[in-house]
Structures are given as structure tokens and as C-alpha cells.
């Protein structure tokens, strides 16, 4: 096992990078970060639509969330994989196909996290803002969302772990990421699957568990700062 790490650590870490696309663990983390950054604004819009008064937008966002939650992520990846080139007119590459699929899918899940945050915020905040003469948009941007983002930060962080885990499915359309790198090493060595998949699994575990633990620690801290006892 140490021998494999010694020979292939750079490949596991960045893939074929200088001579090819960035891959390996760096590719996985890059993909997950881009996805989080792009999905967050989308999910905030969906959450506002879900909690808003406008029936039309409530209906639209409800359908988006439930369709995304009811469809396997692989299905969405293949939709993006086959429809992406048709919509954009050219091939956009597996990496960006995966970004599109992840943003579509994760926006729905992140929206549910943010919606829960909006709904758990005492309504007095909105009423007070209204009494002070804030418009509905200003109330949302200046009063509600900052508190919601702060309170749901731990939940967003654990959703980031889900995103990291989901990037591994990019393997099926050939995205250069960590799982892809490991299976390439596996097809070079052929006789060492136990060691290679242990390295792959344990590395994923170390990365994801770090974020999971951070999320738990923040949850306790944020809970305490508001005088709420940790559950």
C-alpha cells in the first residue's frame, strides 16, 4: 500500500495535471467548490420562492425541488451529458457537464436547507423590519438572509460533504476526479484493487470527516451563541 502511495501520490493528488486536465483529489475539491459557489445563489432564489407569497413562484419552485429530489443524480448527470452539447451548440467537456448537473441537483437540496432556516427565524424579525419601513426586498437582503446564512452555515457545510461525495459519480461520464484517477491506477496495476480502493476510500473519509466534524463543532458553537442548548 505504501509502495502505491509512493509511486502514484502525485497522480492521486492532481491527476495528469501539467500534461492534461486537473484531476485527482484536487479535481474533486475544485469541482465541489465551484458547484457550491454556483449553487448557493440559485438555492437562495429557490428558497425565497418557496417561502414567498406569490403562488406562481411557489408552485414553480415546489416542482423544481421535488423533481430534483425524486430523480436519481445519475439521471441528471446523463441529462446534462446528452443535452448539454445540444443546448450550448458545442461540446463543453465532462467537467462542466458535471458542474451543471451538480448545480441543478444541489440547488434543490441547498434550497431546502435555506428554507428551513428562513422558516425557523422568528417572524418578529420580518414584522419589526416592516414596522421600521423596510421594503420586502430590503427586509430579505438586510434582515432575514444574513441571519439565515449564519444559522444554517453548519447545515450548508454538511451539504458540502454531500457535494464532495457526489462528485465521485462524475466517474461514469469520465470527469477527471479522484475516483477516476484511482480506477486508472487500478487498470495500470491490475492486481492491487484492495490497496487502491482502500487508499481511495480512506482519503475520501479523511476529507469528508474533517468537514463533517467542523460542521458539528460549528453547530454546537452557533447553538450556544444563541443561548440554545445543543441537542
Amino acid at each position: 500500500m505504501l509502495e502505491i502511495i509512493n509511486d502514484y501520490w502525485l497522480f492521486f493528488l492532481i491527476g495528469q495535471y501539467p500534461h492534461g486536465p486537473l484531476g485527482g483529489l484536487a479535481g474533486t475539491l475544485l469541482l465541489a467548490t465551484i458547484c457550491l459557489i454556483l449553487a448557493l445563489p440559485c438555492s437562495i432564489l429557490i428558497a425565497i420562492g418557496r417561502t414567498g407569497k406569490n403562488r406562481f413562484w411557489r408552485g414553480v419552485t415546489f416542482v423544481i425541488v421535488y423533481v430534483m429530489r425524486g430523480t436519481p443524480f445519475l439521471m441528471i448527470i446523463f441529462w446534462a451529458h446528452f443535452l448539454g452539447p445540444i443546448i450550448f451548440g458545442t461540446s463543453i467537456g465532462a467537467f462542466w457537464v458535471m458542474v451543471i448537473a451538480l448545480v441543478l441537483y444541489e440547488s434543490a437540496y441547498l434550497a431546502e436547507v435555506i428554507r428551513a432556516g428562513i422558516e425557523s427565524l422568528p417572524y418578529g424579525q420580518t414584522e419589526a423590519a416592516k414596522a421600521m419601513g423596510f421594503s420586502r426586498t430590503k427586509t430579505m437582503i438586510l434582515i432575514v438572509l444574513p441571519q439565515v446564512m449564519y444559522n444554517s452555515f453548519p447545515a450548508l457545510l454538511s451539504q458540502f460533504v454531500s457535494i464532495i461525495k457526489e462528485t465521485s459519480l462524475g466517474f461514469v461520464i469520465g470527469v477527471h476526479e479522484f475516483t477516476f484517477a484511482a480506477s486508472q491506477v487500478n487498470s495500470i496495476l491490475l492486481v492491487k484493487p484492495v490497496e487502491i480502493y482502500l487508499i481511495l476510500g480512506l482519503t475520501f473519509f479523511i476529507v469528508c470527516f474533517t468537514f463533517t466534524s467542523a460542521a458539528r463543532w460549528l453547530e454546537r458553537r452557533i447553538g450556544k451563541s444563541q443561548g440554545v442548548l445543543p441537542a
Partner: protein, 234 residues
């Protein structure tokens, strides 16, 4: 567009789809059973007063929840057979090894999620209930059987339905190791006909249909749980 004009719903593709769907169901039921039973065993171990025994499921749950399911399936498919003794390897190859190993991987992974759901149900029961029943002379297992689990079930069922939905969707990942379930068949039909839009549309509707059934069942379970809690409090 009438129903007959959808080319991918004509033979032979219709039977490909149906075969895929039946294998998806078989995989779903197989891994759901493993997840449920193992999740329950993990919960029992976790509640043990002996620290070491309680620590094992806790560590396993962290492992299973922080490693991508695809990686776990690949580990089961590529690595686990190498670790098995010869006669078991042969037995696996005689049957559909991809199906069995994917089912085991799914079941073992989802057991961690199921176990966490069970545990949050148990934790929703006030500890005074346990103390009272122990004071009345119930043993630990009998306390669980008669006092804690029946009450915990209410808080647990909605969570379990959510995990069931997750499990159902995740059966599609088995295609990565070549199990001929619905997703795999959909891609084969796509390669055969190039009617991408049609076949994906049909498959998405099929998946959505069963997902929504599970979601509706979850919604009903939640309502039932709320109602029966109110009734028992009155």
C-alpha cells in the same frame, strides 16, 4: 404524441426496460432488508453499556457516511472478492456477483443511515420512561421491546421513509459496475436507438413515479405519527 408513437416503448425495448425495472426492484428490496436489519443491529450495539461494543458501530457509521457510495460499491466489487476464500469467490461467480455485491454495498452503506434514524427516534423518548420501566422490573431488552421501540417508531418512520427514497435513487449507481438495472438498460436502449430524449424522458418519469410514491407514503406516515401521538397524549 400518442403512447404508441414512443419508439422506445415498443418491443424489444419495452422488455429491456421492464427487465431493468424488475432488477432495480430486486436490488432495492434486497438492500433495503439488509439496511433495515443491520441498521437495527448497529443501534443495539451502540446502546450497549460496554464502551468498546458501542464504539464499533459509531466508527462504522462515520466511515459509511463519509465515503461516497460509488467508492463503497467499487470497493465491494473489485476488492472484497480478493479478500474472500476461494470457495466463496467461486460461489459468487456462479451467481450474478455484480448484483449481490452491489446489493451488499448498498445495504451496508444505507444501514448507517437507517441506524442514525433509529437512534434519533430512540433519543426522542424521555429517559424517565426507561428508568420507570427498569424500576418496574423490565430487563433492558424488554424495556426496549415494550416501552421504547413502540414509541420511537413514530418519530422514526418519516426518517426511514426519507432513507428509503435515498436508497431507491441510489440503486441506479449499481450501473457503474455493470448491474443491468433500469439506468443501465436506459443507456443500452439509448446506444441502440439514439432516441436520447425519449428514453431519458420515459426513465425520468418512471423514477419520479416511484420516488413520489415513497414521498407520499412518507407524508402519510408523518401525519399518522402526529395523530397517534396526539391520541396517546390525551
Amino acid at each position: 404524441m400518442s403512447f404508441e408513437s414512443i419508439a422506445v416503448l415498443q418491443e424489444p425495448y419495452l422488455s429491456w426496460l421492464l427487465q431493468g425495472l424488475s432488477l432495480t426492484f430486486a436490488l432495492f428490496i434486497f438492500s433495503w432488508t439488509i439496511a433495515f436489519v443491520l441498521g437495527f443491529l448497529l443501534l443495539l450495539m451502540r446502546m450497549s453499556p460496554i464502551k468498546v461494543i458501542a464504539w464499533i458501530p459509531a466508527a462504522y457509521i462515520e466511515l459509511a457516511r463519509n465515503i461516497p457510495l460509488l467508492v463503497q460499491i467499487m470497493f465491494w466489487y473489485f476488492a472484497v472478492p480478493m479478500l474472500l476464500p476461494d470457495f466463496l469467490q467461486k460461489a459468487l461467480n456462479r451467481w450474478d456477483s455484480g448484483f449481490i455485491l452491489a446489493g451488499l454495498a448498498l445495504g451496508f452503506c444505507m444501514a448507517a443511515y437507517f441506524s442514525e434514524s433509529f437512534r434519533s427516534g430512540v433519543r426522542s423518548i424521555n429517559n424517565t420512561q426507561v428508568e420507570a420501566s427498569r424500576a418496574l422490573g423490565f430487563s433492558f431488552l424488554r424495556t426496549m421491546q415494550y416501552i421504547v421501540f413502540p414509541q420511537a417508531l413514530r418519530a422514526t418512520i418519516p426518517l426511514i421513509m426519507n432513507n428509503t427514497l435515498l436508497l431507491f435513487k441510489n440503486t441506479s449507481i449499481a450501473m457503474a459496475i455493470g448491474v443491468h438495472e433500469l439506468m443501465y438498460q436506459v443507456l443500452s436502449i439509448n446506444n441502440d436507438t439514439f432516441r436520447t430524449f425519449e428514453i431519458f424522458f420515459v426513465a425520468t418519469i418512471v423514477y419520479l413515479f416511484f420516488s413520489i410514491l415513497i414521498m407520499i407514503a412518507g407524508e402519510f406516515a408523518e401525519r399518522w405519527a402526529k395523530k397517534s401521538r396526539r391520541a396517546s397524549n390525551a
